[in-house]
């Protein structure tokens, strides 16, 4: 089972990455998974280049393949200007629009204040709904103050439990197939 973690934190060390690792560890406690972490910071230039050149560079292509091939995803972004960061959105803008179809996704965000916690539901959840991912009910938001308060571990555990429950029991990797031409032609005639 492959669990891919996408972290859009920018500083080193980063509280976004810290939250991502906590979530991944909580999922790994429940079900055996191979974890791969993708730091978008390292891909920032290649992401910008894909906007202008139309194709991904080598490292970005590898990250896109990892996300596409994952059995489940954890995505974590810092809140910038009342939403996900531009880098976080850009990564998903240049990803193939079908890459996340049917994929279980746990959404999480970090911010300086708890006043932005609804960013999970007004920004991240619609984005992943649009991409036809299956978003788990519990999103995890960690404000600076949460790292020294009660409640965060419980939310992490609940979200991890929900994601673990959605991961497929057996691995089934879908190969991109081709629709036979006769079917394509017939579909046009029938409708």
């Amino acid at each position: 089972m492959k669990l891919v973690v996408v972290s859009a934190g920018l500083s080193v060390p980063s509280s976004t990455r810290l939250l991502a690792d906590r979530l991944a560890a909580a999922v790994a406690d429940r079900t055996p998974v191979d974890i791969e972490v993708i730091e978008l910071r390292d891909l920032a230039v290649e992401i910008a280049h894909q906007f202008t050149s139309g194709f991904p560079g080598k490292a970005l292509a590898a990250a896109q393949d990892a996300v596409t091939g994952a059995d489940g995803l954890i995505v974590v972004t810092p809140v910038f200007s009342a939403s996900y960061s531009g880098l976080f959105k850009s990564f998903f803008d240049v990803l193939d629009k079908d890459a996340l179809t049917g994929k279980p996704v746990l959404i999480a965000a970090t911010g300086g204040t708890a006043r932005h916690s609804l960013v999970l539901d007004h920004a991240l959840r619609p984005l992943f709904s649009y991409l036809r991912a299956v978003v788990v009910p519990t999103g995890v938001y960690a404000a600076s103050e949460d790292w020294g308060a009660e409640g965060l571990p419980e939310r992490i555990e609940r979200a991890a439990q929900e994601l673990a429950a959605l991961l497929p029991k057996t691995e089934h990797r879908k190969e991109p197939g081709v629709v036979p031409f006769a079917e394509q032609l017939a579909a046009l005639r029938a409708s």
Partner: protein, 372 residues
């Protein structure tokens, strides 16, 4: 194997002088480039089709008809003909007309077009792009292969007792290449009909090109047209050359850095590493192009984009001299080495006519046999 050039037909400012050619200058330059292609011994000239500025070639068969009158051997083609927004009836007629004028030196490459507003301007919906390509091409084939067509479809008014004129030259339809960069449906379409598949790889890494061509080859064999190795494959490529590779880099860099399609993104070095763009000596272009065979197998048509990034006509003509005199003769020789005998050349009017006549002779012979 066929070698040639394809042009997008963009009007682009020369960043080194700030000068923008007029539409007339650009159109005349495209013609001069086509004539030069024949002069330096290339096989194919293909023009793009566009319906928005800064592009000029909205009427490819007009231009190709003019080029046909001034050339003897050059095969005239397109890159691409918009199978989605053009009426297939008009495509059938325009290219049959061109075949007669050019004595058969005509084929075409169909493509969907990627400029959103062009679809509504022509009364179509981009979300139906694949469906339009499938239905329109199915009709186009019938218009060429059947003298009288009754037809009903989704996207066009029905036809009853319709005959597209003129009929294709010698009863042989122009050979069709299907161009696509990332749609497996189009590779599948090309394979189904046993037509050619052109992957315009100029902005794509080799692994992607390989995936698309492999799919086309496998499906070509699946539909019984031959072995995967016998499928008809074409590739793009683009280059800028000077005898000395440092001179090429120095001269091309300001064009690359400012061109609408290249500039303000990856560096020239990254771009040349990741895509077929080669900026250097003729020998480097030879080596790079020969390596395409390792990616896709023995193939049939190699087209180069040479009039890119706002290069002035004089420079482009110098590039074509280098291409025709120093690059292509070596490529012809090297690609011929180790090429299995059963890998066919790209079909031409002559080869398709010979195949048709052989087929008819065979039929006649069988009828006589059964009569006895």
């Amino acid at each position: 194997m066929q070698f040639g050039i394809f042009t997008v037909g963009d009007v682009t400012t020369d960043p080194t002088t700030g000068r923008t050619p007029t539409e007339r200058e650009r159109i005349k330059a495209m013609v001069a480039i086509a004539l030069k292609a024949e002069e330096v011994g290339l096989d194919v000239f293909a023009t793009g089709e566009h319906h928005n500025p800064p592009f000029v070639p909205s009427s490819p068969t007009t231009m190709l008809g003019y080029v046909a009158a001034r050339t003897e051997n050059l095969i005239l083609s397109t890159s691409t003909t918009l199978i989605t927004t053009n009426d297939p009836v008009k495509i059938a007629e325009d290219f049959a007309m061109l075949q007669h004028l050019a004595d058969g030196r005509v084929d075409l490459m169909t493509g969907r077009g990627n400029t959103g507003p062009v679809y509504p301007w022509f009364g179509k919906d981009i979300r139906r792009g694949i469906d339009l390509a499938i239905e329109n091409y199915a009709l186009l084939r019938r218009l060429w292969h059947e003298d009288v067509v009754d037809w009903e479809g989704k996207f066009r008014t029905p036809l009853q007792g319709f005959t597209a004129t003129p009929r294709p030259l010698d009863g042989v339809a122009p050979f069709v290449w299907h161009g696509s960069i990332r749609s497996p449906e189009i590779a599948e379409q090309a394979a189904y009909y046993g037509d050619g598949f052109f992957h315009n790889n100029i902005f794509w890494p080799a692994e992607h090109t390989k995936r698309m061509v492999d799919l086309y080859r496998a499906r070509y064999a699946h539909y019984g047209h031959g072995t995967p190795e016998q499928a008809i494959v074409g590739l793009g490529g683009q280059a800028f050359m000077r005898k000395n590779s440092q001179d090429a880099v120095r001269e091309f860099r300001p064009y690359f850095d400012n061109a609408p399609v290249y500039g303000h993104g990856p560096s020239l070095e990254d771009f040349t590493e990741q895509t077929p763009l080669t900026v250097g000596s003729p020998q480097q272009v030879i080596e790079r192009t020969l390596a395409f065979r390792e990616t896709v197998g023995d193939y049939q048509r190699q087209l180069f984009l040479m009039d890119h990034a706002g290069l002035p006509l004089k420079t482009v003509l110098e590039q074509l001299d280098l291409l025709g005199e120093e690059v292509v003769p070596v490529l012809r020789e090297e690609f011929a080495k180790g090429r299995p005998a059963d890998v066919p050349d790209a079909p031409t009017h002559r080869s398709l006519l010979a195949a048709k006549e052989a087929h008819e002779k065979q039929d006649k012979h069988e009828k006589q046999e059964s009569a006895v």
